[in-house]
Symmetry: C2
Subunit: 223 residues, 2 copies
Amino acid sequence: MTSADIPEPPRSETEFISGLHAIGDERYHHRHPFHLLMHEGKLTRGQLQTWALNRYYYQRHIPIKDAAILARSKDLTFRVAWLSREQATRGEGILPGTRFAVQAYLHLVSQRSHLEAVASSLTELFSHKLIALRMDRMRLHYPWLVPALDYFQGRLTQAPEDAEYALAYCVKHARTREQQDLAYAALRAKCDILWAQLDALYFAYVEPGWPPPGAFRPAKGTE
Amino acid sequence: MTSADIPEPPRSETEFISGLHAIGDERYHHRHPFHLLMHEGKLTRGQLQTWALNRYYYQRHIPIKDAAILARSKDLTFRVAWLSREQATRGEGILPGTRFAVQAYLHLVSQRSHLEAVASSLTELFSHKLIALRMDRMRLHYPWLVPALDYFQGRLTQAPEDAEYALAYCVKHARTREQQDLAYAALRAKCDILWAQLDALYFAYVEPGWPPPGAFRPAKGTE
């Protein structure tokens, strides 16, 4: 038996607790520039208004969160299944904004009606033009990327078929006004999901260019 | 019977389809500045690298998403329950980044182990100092906000008690190294959730200051 076979011993209670505090030092949002501006009095009234609006949304979910914890405090049924899925989807260096948007997407398609799930895929209706333009501009501006363009080339022929099928399905199954509105809302939600991923990227890596703790950092000279 | 009792008629198929396209025109991410920079060749290699990394994460969830749709295509069991919850949590003008972070939090506490759910609340360990500082600076810089500070005042005495209870629970139940690592990961995830909400705010309302389609816009003169 080698030392590699021996499981690591647990940390002492003291060490464990100081590890928790170290996470807070490094990652808690007291370090966030939004709070720094707030504390320096540099936010406008409108910016504070948006903070309050969004904070309220978060805050009014706390009782739901608490109820969820209480309701299942003895119930570990999902644990094993969930953990393996967690591990499969971990993804080192991924922006939390990406992770949350993707979770929202999975949530949408697995928890809402089938019509809404299919309607959320209708962004494929708009993707063809974007992908064609992207390939064109990639070839022009980033020739070193050309070998990676095969994936997009494939989607140029595949996406329109998928989109037509999904569109036909939605047309057939969204018979009432309410169902049509639900399909609209699902498509809007999907657009939000795509948009938010680029917001996160832009914010972290373009302007102001602040990747959150733990996120991927481009190598010097490429950022 | 008044006209208010008559349900709105469905849109025609043509009208419904053009409504879908209108959503794409307005909200699809081809309008996103990140794509505009990409198409103008203004992204660095590092920025493209981060785009590819994050896009890959999104992309490799597509088969899971597809499987979820197929698996439940006949199953509408959750629909009614889900819809009422959706309506309760809709929130006009909320940033998608906020919504997704909150969903991620609910997901964490309802789907992972009880230890991880409790560990995610340990940010309360760090909140006391931040709230005290915030109240101090709010009074100094934004005197018109003082009447709204009662909520935070209450949390100054309540949060430490909650945090101590949660900390004691985690210490008691995280006995193995793996369990401690899970508690760490849950606390990191919660920090990501808080951080990402401010990222979204900062991006939308400070710098570069681009609220996504459908998000709240501060009134002129307050932005």
